[in-house]
């Protein structure tokens, strides 16, 4: 009674501009012209983002974070799409978008604060046009569509982009967001990172067709891009955003990628997936192919790679230092920011609890 795995065996109609071997190829619909400096800059992003992630995993292992959701393997999808955004566009992430956060200029220490448990996020979403992380699966897709409807009503030339996973596509909220976006022709890009797994459930538990094909049923275009190809992710997202800003409505981008690590640091993937799968995907690593391309075209020398490596080391060290220095919130913080206006019950509970605590000092 289990559905055949058509979603996985269908030919991967991928938009690809850079092969896993680092060879530049052309695509009839998507062009990209990057200067050597731009490619080096993307490479740097990829390396630094991976380093942030590795450092966070290590910090969790050492008990400094409660949890971490690793983006390992998804760097190109996040950096490619993140760098396609302009300052006026608004991004709505899940809990794994550390690479997009990086592109938006959110200091990674903010992400660690959430996973350490000192706050629920706490960065200013308006400062970076990067919304708070969403842990409830799929909920943010509706927010992104509503935000896009606001952009539309403002007559602004901007778009919103919303990130979600393959598993999230099953949620009612996500399907409702597709309908709203379509009906209102909202300037939104649905960026689905299909990393093949929703915790222990493979894609065929969510869909019998490739995810990007869902879009056509809702009345807007869908495209599948090689999620490990940063050039293609950049080109495809740029076009989708440009279309949205130009009044052509939503696009769904399915970034076909792989969650190379565990779902989170609490997860044990050996219980449900075979090691061969990971080995196969390692050959499609999103960073290695850019490095190969830079070498092949002689766009960077060893000194450049060493410099990026050194910068990553420094970033990791600095992040660790900042994490260990994060102060625990004071108990008063419990009652702050719950309401924008004075609230009698908050005042009462705050006063009662603080005087209870004061009793211990006497």
């Amino acid at each position: 009674m289990t559905a055949p795995t058509t979603g996985l065996t269908a030919p991967p109609e991928l938009v690809q501009l850079l092969t896993p071997e680092g060879e530049r190829i052309e695509h009839p619909d998507y062009h990209i012209d990057l200067t050597a400096e731009e490619v080096r800059s993307l490479y740097r992003d990829l390396v630094l983002v991976r380093r942030i992630d590795l450092e966070a995993v290590a910090l969790q292992r050492q008990g400094e974070l409660g949890l971490w959701a690793s983006l390992l393997g998804q760097e190109a999808a996040q950096v490619g799409s993140g760098r396609a955004l302009t300052g006026v566009d608004m991004a709505f992430p899940t809990y794994r978008e550390h690479g997009v956060a990086w592109c938006r200029g959110v200091d990674p220490i903010n992400l660690l604060g959430l996973f350490r448990g000192v706050n629920h996020g706490g960065w200013d979403p308006y400062e970076h046009n990067f919304h708070l992380y969403s842990i409830v699966i799929g909920t943010q897709t509706l927010h992104a569509v509503g935000y896009a409807m606001g952009i539309q009503r403002d007559g602004a030339e901007a778009a919103s982009i919303v990130y979600f996973g393959d598993g999230a596509t099953s949620q009612g909220d996500v399907n409702e967001s597709f309908i709203w976006a379509s009906v209102f022709n909202a300037p939104v890009v649905f960026f689905c990172q299909n990393n093949q797994w929703a915790i222990s459930e493979p894609l065929e538990k969510q869909s019998r067709i490739p995810l990007y094909k869902r879009a056509s049923g809702f009345g807007f275009p869908g495209v599948r891009v090689d999620g490990n190809d940063v050039f293609a992710c950049l080109a495809v997202t740029r076009k989708a955003l440009a279309d949205a800003r130009a009044g052509q409505g939503p696009t769904m981008v399915e970034a076909f990628t792989y969650r190379m690590g565990a779902h989170t640091t609490s997860d044990d993937p050996t219980r449900y997936r075979v090691a061969d799968e990971l080995e196969a995907w390692k050959l499609k690593d999103p960073i290695e192919r850019v490095k190969a391309y830079l070498f092949r075209r002689e766009l960077a020398d060893q000194e450049f790679f060493d410099k990026v490596e050194a910068e990553a080391d420094l970033l990791g060290k600095e992040l660790r230092r900042a994490c260990l220095a994060l102060p625990d919130p004071s108990p008063e913080a419990l009652f702050e920011h719950v309401y924008a206006e004075p609230h009698a019950l908050m005042a009462e509970e705050r006063e009662q609890y603080l005087s209870y605590l004061a009793g211990f000092e006497r």
Binding site: M1, T2, G66, L67, Y95, L114, F115, R116, G117, V118, N119, H120, I135, V136, I137, G138, G167, A168, S170, Q171, G172, D173, A198, I199, S200, E201, K205, Q206, S266, R271, Y272, D328, P329, P331, A333, L334, F335, V338, L345, M346, E349, Y353, Y356, G359, F360
Partner: protein
């Protein structure tokens, strides 16, 4: 006698329920190969197959809605909601459909659906993984609501819940999943709607359920050292309440403190306090006090020790009721 963790006791209980009745199904996110994120369904898919232990798409409304359909067709689905904070996408199916359909059919339809929810905090988790949403459900007529607190009860309560013809929201204290106890696998359990006196005492009655039962037992032990005799009742059933056991105890002690992790404001403690004031008015020596969470969203984990009732806060309330 077998030593089981609470999670394993639920697992054994589910296994027994599935063995006893081929109509019993288990469904939810990651319940199959993974055995659930807390391993409560570990090994069940291997032994009962994918048609009886179903890894569902990632959609809680879908889980409960299809469970209702399966129940209409004669099945007895046990649904796992992965974490307390993720039951809300299913709230519509639970509240407008599951709770009301039997009445709407004038009793012709039975919906023996169990909604299992790991609940409560204390595990250092991120947002939405530490909540205590029981009052939303006790406030909904048509649902039975229960909470287990230990491996012995967990083993029989889950089987009784599966056998019950009413829809049941079944809370499991996630921070106690790894607590161990000797479980007698053939011993009959207390009926599902009965409360249990888990420690006898004569000065104060503590009412608790789920994760707070252990906290209250520890508090009672500490109070004893100060010469105070504290009775602890594990409610087990949150809707309906076993008022007989509760009132008998408070009529003896004359003092009562209700402890839950959920916010005090409009929480279950309010209902208990009102009922006790009606049932025990002439015996009460003090107002019924409540210890619980604040009326804030559940805080980031570095603050949860402040939010959650602990031994000190329970003892403080015991002191205060005794001071009257």
């Amino acid at each position: 006698m077998t030593v089981l963790t609470l999670a394993k006791a639920l697992n054994e209980g589910l296994r027994a329920a599935m063995d006893a009745d081929p109509k019993v199904l288990v469904m939810g996110e990651d319940v199959g190969k993974l055995g659930g994120v807390f391993r409560v369904t570990d090994g069940l898919q291997k032994d009962f197959g994918e048609d009886r232990v179903i890894d569902t798409p990632l959609a809680e409304s879908g889980i409960i809605g299809t469970a209702i359909g399966l129940a209409l067709r004669g099945y007895r689905p046990v649904c796992e909601i992965q974490f307390d904070g993720f039951v809300f996408p299913a709230a519509d199916q639970i509240i407008t459909q599951l709770a009301k359909m039997p009445l709407r059919s004038l009793g012709k339809l039975k919906l023996p659906v169990v909604v299992r929810i790991p609940c409560g905090g204390g595990i250092g988790a991120v947002e939405h993984h530490s909540e205590s949403p029981e009052a939303y459900f006790t406030h909904t007529g048509g649902l039975r609501v229960v909470a287990c607190s230990n491996p012995v009860d967990a083993y029989t309560m889950i089987q009784d819940a599966v056998r019950c013809d009413d829809p049941i929201v079944f809370f499991e204290p996630k921070r106690r999943y790894w607590d161990k106890a000797d479980v007698e696998l053939d011993a009959p359990g207390l009926p599902l709607d009965k409360a249990k006196v888990v420690r006898t005492g004569s000065d104060v009655t503590l009412l608790a359920y789920g994760p707070m039962v252990k906290t209250c037992l520890e508090s009672a032990a500490a109070a004893e050292e100060d010469g105070r005799s504290v009775e602890v009742i594990d409610l087990r059933s949150l809707s309906p309440l076993d008022m007989e056991v509760i009132a008998a105890s408070v009529n003896r002690t004359g003092r009562c403190v209700v402890v839950h992790e959920a916010p005090v404001f409009t929480g279950l403690g309010g209902e208990l306090a009102a009922r006790i004031s009606e049932a025990c008015f002439y015996r009460l020596e003090s107002p019924v006090l409540r210890v619980g969470g604040f009326s804030t969203p559940y805080p980031p984990s570095r603050l949860e020790d402040h939010y959650l009732p602990d031994l000190d806060r329970v003892l403080d309330a015991v002191d205060r009721v005794l001071a009257y």
